[in-house]
Subunit: 149 residues, 2 copies
Amino acid sequence: MPSRRKLAADAWGAVLRVHAAVLPSLDRELRMKTGLPLGWYDVLLELSAAPDGQLTMSELGQRAVLSRSRISRVVDELADAGLVSRTRHPTDGRSAFASLTAEGRARFEAAAPVYVEAIQTHFAAELTTDQLRGVRDGLDAVLAPRPAP
Amino acid sequence: MPSRRKLAADAWGAVLRVHAAVLPSLDRELRMKTGLPLGWYDVLLELSAAPDGQLTMSELGQRAVLSRSRISRVVDELADAGLVSRTRHPTDGRSAFASLTAEGRARFEAAAPVYVEAIQTHFAAELTTDQLRGVRDGLDAVLAPRPAP
DNA sequence: AAAGATTGACCCGTCAATCTTG
DNA sequence: CAAGATTGACGGGTCAATCTTT
């Protein structure tokens, strides 16, 4: 029996089940306690990690989990809420920046510890540190670029 | 610096990224090669693992990754396609069975190796067996019931 | 023509409300 | 009224087409 195949299928199944179970509760808790949906948080996180708190849409699309088209819409929502502002690229008129406003940064910084705490509660509570490392390192390897052939 | 917190956040982030990256390619490949969308496959898998190839909707809802309401719709689609049939529960008129037809079982059995192969290609290719175990065991622990308080 | 970004149409999935039977 | 299941309305997400600028 090809046990490696079964192991791979079980591991993938675990990803599906954990994602399906954890994501909704995480999102609900984050909305309740901070008013930020998960998609907003994702964008704010990448912006606040960027120098000057601004990125082009393409850069956001590469860094965040969302697709580029979803990013456009989330940035619209964030702009309506006053948490980011859209600015033009100085030299390339096609490109558009999203940049964090002061309020956006404040909201993010207030939300960050709540988010981290929610991850602990809903995802990591029952795991040993070694188990967490195993999950992180294994999943990182899935997306690591293949060694050149 | 609370490195355990960062570790947990990184591990959860890895779950999000892997899910977002792998699910679409897996679904596309499965559709192309077998004509079955992932949701169909999920239901067929649980049915074919059940004795007599039949389960009530509630049982399906507990076992599969999808929600109960989604299950209703997927079973409708599967019934239209002739892969399952809806039958009544002999003693409880509220309950409804979904049961695998011969064609449904054949389609599933043809699809299963393709699915397993796709998991290998899109998810497990770069992972050592130990890494796969780390992912599976760690994620299983997330959903394990808490020890009674 | 190509790159950056946005928009429209559409699918997947859930929640809340509803229907039916016990 | 409670349990099983289905349906309607809606949000979140992506793809393909489009618009603008280079």
